[in-house]
């Protein structure tokens, strides 16, 4: 009568599924190493993996500090975008007036290239963390709103009718039916948002900063310091990957009922 639960990805299953992308990554790495080793491209354009590793080892304290700054900006920006985005989505779904007057504007605002706003933000908020966080919020906000609105609207109308025959208040209906039902879609929006938040923070640092990986990148670029450029880039990517995996973990905790229906690797769900 009962269908069996999907097999959870064990270590073995993970290896069986996960070796392909790892193999591709290793192959790319080998190409990089080969190009640098044969000096097919001058070293000031593409440094060898060894040189990058040396830079990382030598400057680790400096790099760690800047990585921390960028990570902090990203996390704060992402968290704010998540909170504001969900709140806005609730407003849009529950108020016809808000939906009619605000939703078109939110969609339209997405057309504005937010990266172009960065210089204005620097003028307004100075060189500190604030303009970076604001930019991260602006960029990450949109996928959160759109996914949350879609999730909240996807509720089965029969569940709302059921709730009415139970005499439940709007708040109870929201808390026990609507919001949990919206979580799967919301979480997939959060996954997109977290990677965009990194972009926001880094671009914010490009425009005006004295700290952060974006600042280091500009510095390294000015000095034609290729190993430092590459090391910096790797660290930026690492921030994105780690935060993305954290949201995946959050998903497993929040919506295990949804995650358990899917097959394959956690990372294969973007």
């Amino acid at each position: 009568m009962v269908t069996s639960r999907e097999a959870r990805p064990t270590a073995v299953a993970l290896l069986a599924e996960g070796w392909r992308p790892v193999a591709v990554l290793l192959a790319l790495f080998a190409v990089w190493w080969f190009v640098a080793w044969r000096e097919l491209v001058p070293a000031y354009l593409v440094p060898s993996p060894g040189a990058v590793a040396e830079t990382m080892a030598a400057d680790w304290a400096m790099l760690l500090e800047h990585t921390w700054v960028t990570t902090l900006e990203t996390i704060v920006g992402f968290a704010l975008a998540a909170v504001i985005g969900v709140a806005a989505a609730v407003l849009l779904v529950y108020s016809r007036t808000a939906e009619r007057s605000l939703y078109p504007l939110i969609l339209f605002a997405q057309v504005i290239p937010k990266i172009a706003i960065a210089p204005i933000l620097v003028v307004w908020f100075g060189f500190g963390m604030t303009p970076k966080i604001v930019l991260a919020v602006l960029i990450a906000f949109f996928p959160v709103v759109v996914s949350a609105v879609a999730g909240l609207r996807s509720v089965d109308p029969e569940l709302l009718e059921l709730s009415a025959t139970m005499g439940a208040s709007r708040w109870k209906t929201f808390r026990k039916i609507r919001f949990p039902g919206a979580l799967p879609q919301l979480v997939s929006g959060l996954k997109v948002a977290v990677t965009l938040a990194v972009v926001g923070a880094v671009v914010g640092e490009f425009v005006g900063a004295d700290r952060g990986l974006g600042y280091v990148l500009l510095l390294a670029s000015g000095n034609l310091d290729a190993p430092l450029l590459f090391a910096d880039l790797l660290l930026m990517s690492l921030i994105g990957v780690v935060l993305f995996v954290l949201v995946e973990v959050l998903e497993r905790l929040l919506v295990p009922w949804h995650a358990s229906r899917r097959t394959g690797l956690a990372l294969a769900t973007v």
Binding site: M1, T3, E161, G181, W257
Partner: protein, 273 residues
């Protein structure tokens, strides 16, 4: 008559002859920008306490609308609907409602899905849990308390929905084609169970269906409806005993006669006018 006197106390005395549900001259229209649909036209029906009324008719004849009207989920355009003697003006909470699709919360296990009813109503937790466990036993869901809906078969999902609809011991249970999506065998099992639950709880049931055997097997009275606009064509009363074994009942001449009549009526209403 009604075993659940506690709930009944609030709704005033209802002598056995007084109808528990009263629909009088109800017309129900849905208007959209382009068209007007008449779902029900001049429908009158009285349901007595403890009755099991089945409503049979072709798809789209407004059977579901009739149920939602009684539940207060859809307003009547004309006419008057009364439940427990009081006019229905908004969603009614002193009922149990079971939907066509089970309408379960995907993220909750069987027991917690049933207990949703209690949480929404603010019922006493301990009593609700005891009652839920009794219902789980009654419907043969023991051992699946923690299973999520997608891990259950269609029949089991409907059992969960039924338990949820019965948790607060409603005097009236409204069911909208609850077994429509089940395979024939499971459906027979559910029908047998439904008959037993009805006898054991004394609940007044209105069940909408488009299955001829289901309508006749379950109903003390069978309301036959015409296609849109939905009207009541005839009400059959085969006079079968309350306790019904599936096989013997189907072999009963009264069952056969009622089923034949119902088939005739539904077939006739299908024919072009």
């Amino acid at each position: 008559m009604t075993a659940t006197a506690e709930q009944g106390a609030a709704t005033g005395p209802a002598p056995a002859a007084e109808p528990i549900i009263e629909v009088s001259h109800v017309t129900c229209r849905f208007t959209s920008r382009r068209s007007e649909t008449v779902a029900l036209e001049d429908v009158s029906l009285a349901v007595r306490p403890g009755e099991f009324v089945t409503v049979a008719g072709p798809s789209g004849c407004g059977k579901s609308t009739l149920l939602k009207l009684v539940a207060g989920l859809v307003p009547a355009t004309e006419g008057d609907v009364r439940l427990y003697g009081r006019p229905v003006t908004g969603p009614q909470r002193e009922i149990g409602f079971a939907f066509q699709r089970s309408a379960l919360l995907e993220w909750r296990g069987v027991r917690r899905n049933i207990l949703l009813q209690a949480e929404m109503r603010g019922m006493d937790r301990r009593r609700a849990e005891e009652r839920a466990d009794r219902l789980i036993e009654l419907t043969g869901l023991t051992g699946f308390e923690k299973a999520l809906p997608h891990e259950l078969s269609g029949g089991m999902q409907q059992r969960v929905a039924l338990c949820r609809a019965l948790l607060h011991e409603p005097r009236v249970l409204l069911m909208d084609e609850p077994f429509g999506a089940l395979d024939a065998l499971t459906r027979e099992q559910m029908n047998t169970e439904m008959n037993r639950i009805w006898r054991e709880t004394g609940t007044t049931v209105v069940l909408v269906t488009h299955s001829v055997p289901e309508a006749v097997y379950l109903g003390s009275r069978i309301v036959v409806m015409s296609p849109r606009p939905g009207r009541i064509v005839e009400i059959l009363e085969p006079g079968l005993p309350e306790h019904r074994e599936y096989g013997p009942t189907l072999a009963d001449p009264r069952f056969a006669a009622a089923a034949a009549r119902l088939r005739d009526l539904l077939g006739a209403s299908h024919a072009p006018e």
